[in-house]
Amino acid sequence: MVKKTIEEINAKIKAGKAVVVTAEELIPMVKEQGIKETARNVDVVTTGTFGPMCSSGAFFNLGHPKPRIKMAKVLLNGVEAYTGVAAVDVYLGATQIPETDPANKNFPGEFNYGGGHVLEDLVKGKEVLLEATAYGTDCYPRKKLEKMIRLDELPQAILFNPRNAYQNYNVAVNLSDRTLYTYMGILKPNMGNANYSTSGQLSPLFNDPYYRVTGPGTKIFLGGGVGFVSWYGTQHNPGAPRDAHGVPTAPAGTLAVIGDLKQMSPRWLRGVSYLGYGVSLMVGLGVPIPVIDEDMIRCAAVSDGEIFASVVDYSESYPQGLGEVLTTVSYAELRSGEINVNGKKVPAAPLSSYYRARQIAQILKEWVMDGKFLLTTPVFNIPLAGGISDYQGLVFSDADPARGCHNA
């Protein structure tokens, strides 16, 4: 049995001797060399994903003017940020739209600008208009502030996304006879298309399906900079149905992530608009997977043909919360551009960029190989089932038999 500790792997990284491959490059290696040999040879597997992640945003400390202000309402390029925290701290959410946006009054609305775009403008180095008003207090007398701000002038800017890196997601179709405008893109009537949104075999949590090495404290690629997993994400649902390989076939685990916005780049944080739905932020995220044993390789070697997603009707089942699944299809089928749903051939399109996901895994691989990106051990394992975590004991249990890909 091959066993490696993260400390041993880090020693190899520092010595420039670590063998690092992307999750995509790993697949043919395992086919050729087998699991045991690959586990011995490979130290780190890098993953990546680049897709719309609505549950994203950033905390800003906007800095105190003289005299001081306790901001009650804040607009950044016309997009409202939440002010219910300390005086000049605000949170700007990716899906916030300007108050002046007609939204869906003229259906389908275009949603050309919103929170995600403000975040992109800031990381581009552009000036953004800050408008703040306040009711005024003895300690914070100022009632109005209007100025242009740039990201590099702000005391702090912290990207904090409560739900990213979904482990699997629905394939959206439309069984009705009218076009639908959804967060899964435009869905043509009578199953005219099927839209999906994960990077499959490259996606972080498909390669660590039982969250053995990915948890709070895990150092990651985030938006082009270095970030961390801060917690499990909102709607984390590890109890979703899993196939024989342990891979969920429906939306399952999620990650909450955090990082310094000032390190990030507009290439990996991109404001996006979904017709008739709203705005969002495309986030680039990559997780390095330390090869601690053979089972880690078995999990990370999963390929698109072995990962299945649920096809869901967005005209009825999804909006009404009925939970009906039409069928499951593999990511190999999805990536071929056409899937078969109950006998009907349906063109399939991704909303997340596999091309960019591949680049993220490659960049992360280079960071690790350069010796400047060391791996971290999660502070605790994120919950595997039932919504109860072992975090109270702060136990890192990589020996937990429930967390292995033993069936594969």
């Binding site: 680049f50 897709g51 719309p52 275009e110 050309n112 893109g185 435009i186 043509k188 005219g192 298309n193 839209n195 991109r270 404001g271 996006v272 608009s273 979904y274 017709l275 969002s280 495309m282 990536r335 071929s336 551009g337 063109p347 399939a348 399109a349 991704p350 909303l351 997340s352 960029s353 596999y354 091309y355 960019r356 591949r358």
Partner: protein
């Protein structure tokens, strides 16, 4: 020969069956790419017309003789590559197969010669990488 063009119909002729005559009397192949009648009853048709050179010329003479204005198709769709994230959302929206996702490289490419200027991609592209130019 085959050419894409824009036909403008003044309100006085909007209700006449021009396409029927182009097909039946002039033996032309008509592919309607976009059709629109505005509230002022002006018609605008983006079409691809194909056929023998003599038929083509006679068909255009017929249209112009009846008050239809014929313009070359000068509007084009531009793919702003640096804004494109290569996600692929556009590929099922484009009716002409002009936006293509290579299944090996997983990169988007745009073929202007296949584009029918329906403009669907402009609003379907989440990162607004498609633009119309006149």
């Amino acid at each position: 020969m085959k050419e894409k063009m824009v036909l403008y119909f003044p309100p006085t002729v909007t209700e006449q069956p021009f396409i029927y005559h182009l097909i039946k009397d002039f033996n032309l192949l008509i592919n309607i790419l976009k059709a629109d009648i505005n509230p002022r009853m002006e018609g605008r048709l983006v079409v691809e017309i194909g056929g023998e050179k003599a038929d083509f010329a006679a068909g255009l003479d017929f249209l112009q003789g009846r008050g239809v204005k014929v313009f070359p198709l000068e509007q084009e769709i531009i793919w702003v590559e640096e804004r494109c994230t290569h996600c692929g959302a556009c590929t099922v929206i484009c009716p002409a197969g002009a936006l293509h996702l290579d299944r090996i490289t997983m990169q988007i490419s745009f073929s202007g010669d296949k584009c029918v200027v329906c403009e669907h991609c402009i609003k379907a592209c989440p990162s607004r990488a498609m633009e119309a130019r006149f």
